[in-house]
Amino acid sequence: MTALHGMGCGGLLLLGFSGALIELYRICAPGRFSLLNEFERKLLRLYLIAMAVLAWGTVLSGAYIVYPWYRARPPAGVTDYAPYPQQTLLATPATAGWHNLGMEWKEHVAWFAPIALTMAAYVVAKYGSDLRRHRHVREAVLAFMVAAFMVSVMAGTLGALINKKAPVQGGAVINFMGGTK
């Protein structure tokens, strides 16, 4: 599930930003929007809707499935903190910053992305070809997309690094290979 959150939804979302940003930059350049034909506009609309869905999938799976495993408290008497990533990180000052700065920042700022992407998808879907008349609107959508990209990169990078320091081990164990016979 952690892989689905980080690599499935989050990874696909980050890959999607390259196409969306290039396309939005193209239509923001003076005189360019009218170069998109109807099919390309429809494609951009679907692309942004798919990105918004991916962004919501990433933050919801992160907050409501992976994060509870991350912040789980060990029962009294337990000294092996390995299955409790937050406790593992907070146990020593050398790693506490990964939670106090990394996770505390990531868990909030990541939510900027689905909000910004929902707005961008709505505006592009609502205005369609009429966006050619709204330079300031196009610029705002592009700026929010850049912000969404930056927070997604930051959240994804911190998530990967934190998971490397203290892996989240929740959920069922899946064995791809047979193991011992």
Partner: protein
């Protein structure tokens, strides 16, 4: 005679008045999205600073206060979007000012969500 064609010249489209679809709906979506981002930063900071509020934000125990911080911000965002859409939907607004306000809210929200800045505001 040919009907006048919409121009993409930035000199002519710098202000958004006179368009077929007024910019009010976009302004509502942009400003409310920025307000939603700002609320995530603000609620996160308040939840961190005030333990009583953090307990109120604990909507779903396994996730903790994060569940309430984000859900409340989403509710504010969607409510504001709905209100502004109804108010501005058929109007043409000065998008330069809307954009400036939105970027300010987004920037402050980003700053408030940065833990060292939140600690600084709390005097930690």
């Amino acid at each position: 005679m040919n009907a006048p064609q919409p121009s993409d010249d930035p000199q002519k489209t710098g202000h958004d008045a006179g368009s077929e679809i007024p910019n009010g709906a976009a302004a509502a979506a942009i400003l409310s999205a920025a307000a939603g981002c700002f609320c995530i930063g603000l609620f996160g900071l308040l939840g961190d600073a005030l333990p009583a509020l953090a307990r109120c934000f604990n909507f779903y125990n396994p996730t903790g206060p994060l569940s309430g911080v984000t859900t409340s911000a989403i509710v504010v965002w969607l409510a504001l979007w709905s209100i502004l859409s109804r108010t501005w939907g058929d109007k043409s607004l000065p998008m330069g000012k809307i954009n400036a306000s939105s970027f300010l809210l987004l920037g402050v929200g980003l700053l408030l969500s940065f833990p060292p800045f939140g600690d600084f505001l709390q005097g930690k």
